[in-house]
Symmetry: C2
Subunit: 222 residues, 2 copies
DNA sequence: TGAACTATGGTCAGTATATGACCGTTGGTC
DNA sequence: GACCAACGGTCATATACTGACCATAGTTCA
């Protein structure tokens, strides 16, 4: 390890410090109520220093959110594995989806707020597009599962992919939203999982019992 | 925690980085063979930066050695405890002394080299005096034990304190020196401890069996 | 022996990084 | 619509770091 390397590391560390301080506040209060001064204070830096690492408050927010969504997308993409059927993938997808947002409720809340087009944050067009693209990439995963299911003959070829995709997407977000910030903490996870399970199983059964006959009691195993 | 506090911490951290890099090299190679450039390299800093934290190479060495000796002195001073006899203190002292230098052989070697007046390091007079004062503080601990023993009536009041002090000091250093850098690692500690024990017990017995009669088989317990 | 060379402790002008007073804008108040 | 407060963003200044440079003290070799 040399001198240049050390400096690089220190810079990266400082960047992370800022992002960490900012993330906490953004996720607690939203975009506008958080000031650059408060991020600086939390990070134990001056305001000017923040602007040495990021060119605007918006860029900080963008990097946090886009990186969070990327991580999430990476995690969710792990549903694609050799030897898995499309139905199984959909169920795994929902499991991971629920797991993830149970562990990071604030991220979920923020994504929901964003998708509900609460444009009180007046982001630049670029950031808005990036965020839309990023959130869509999650929906694309569902779509890919559907296509895979059709290609493998597990799902009927004439289903409306977009409709199915939106239904599952809506089911997940709806159920999670319904329970995540209401009701008793203790019952929350169970309620979410059982509601999604019922909805998803019904959905898949509706698709598959016409064409797929050799699933060997897949749902009975659950 | 605020901004000033953070900067202070970072400065202190950098100081420690330098000292750590320097200590390793000084203890491996001695004073002269270690260059400021090599310390800087190890610490992943430029040479100039070293001089922002220390005014000379000698000061670095001094701070390391004096701080090491201070720590040692603090440790060794823990022999003074309520309800202990002077003989017990001397035995505890030797235990701690041996423990310490078994764990930090290089410090022992350096102190020995220094005390043997190997003045190949041409330190400034000030540093030399500081080092002498620091090393003497250890010897003073033995002297204090002697005085305590005399005050409490455990040791005869007419013993030559300086002579006794030097004898024990010499015994410890001699035995440790003899074994520390020779012979098999496995047998080393046992040999040192038994040699010191024999010497010290004999010494104390010679002092105490005249005056102290109620020690209740102190040595038999060992 | 002494000139040339080398290695090293220490310096300092130049560069990189960090700071916070300041500016223009905006949104709220009366 | 004049005032104000609060904010994002800027920039002159301050702080921290760097490495080419210097003086000197050994070392080599003609």
């Amino acid at each position: 390890m040399g001198l240049e390397e050390r400096k690089k590391k220190e810079k990266e560390q400082r960047r992370k410090t800022i992002l960490k301080a900012a993330r906490k506040q953004f996720f607690e209060k939203g975009f506008n109520p958080v000031t650059v001064a408060s991020i600086a204070r939390k990070a134990e830096l001056s305001k000017g220093t923040i602007y040495l690492y990021f060119k605007s408050k918006e860029e900080i927010y963008a990097q946090i959110l886009l990186s969070d969504i990327d991580k999430f997308h990476e995690r969710i993409s792990s549903v694609f594995q050799e030897g898995k059927g499309a139905s199984e993938m959909l169920l795994d997808f929902s499991d991971i989806y629920i797991d993830y947002f149970l562990a990071d409720r604030e991220l979920f809340r923020i994504l929901m707020v964003f998708m509900l087009r609460n444009d009180s944050m007046d982001f630049s067009e670029e950031l808005n597009n990036d965020l839309i693209r990023a959130t869509n990439s999650t929906i694309d995963v569902i779509e890919r599962i559907f296509r895979y299911g059709i290609d493998e003959g597990e799902f009927p070829p004439d289903i409306n992919i977009r409709q199915g995709r939106n239904a599952i997407w809506g089911l997940l977000n709806g159920v999670i939203s319904l329970h995540l910030f209401t009701g008793k903490e203790s019952a929350r996870e169970r309620k979410i999982r059982s509601a999604v399970k019922v909805g998803l199983e019904g959905f898949i059964k509706g698709l598959t019992n016409v064409y797929v006959t050799d699933k060997k009691g897949f749902f009975e195993q659950m």
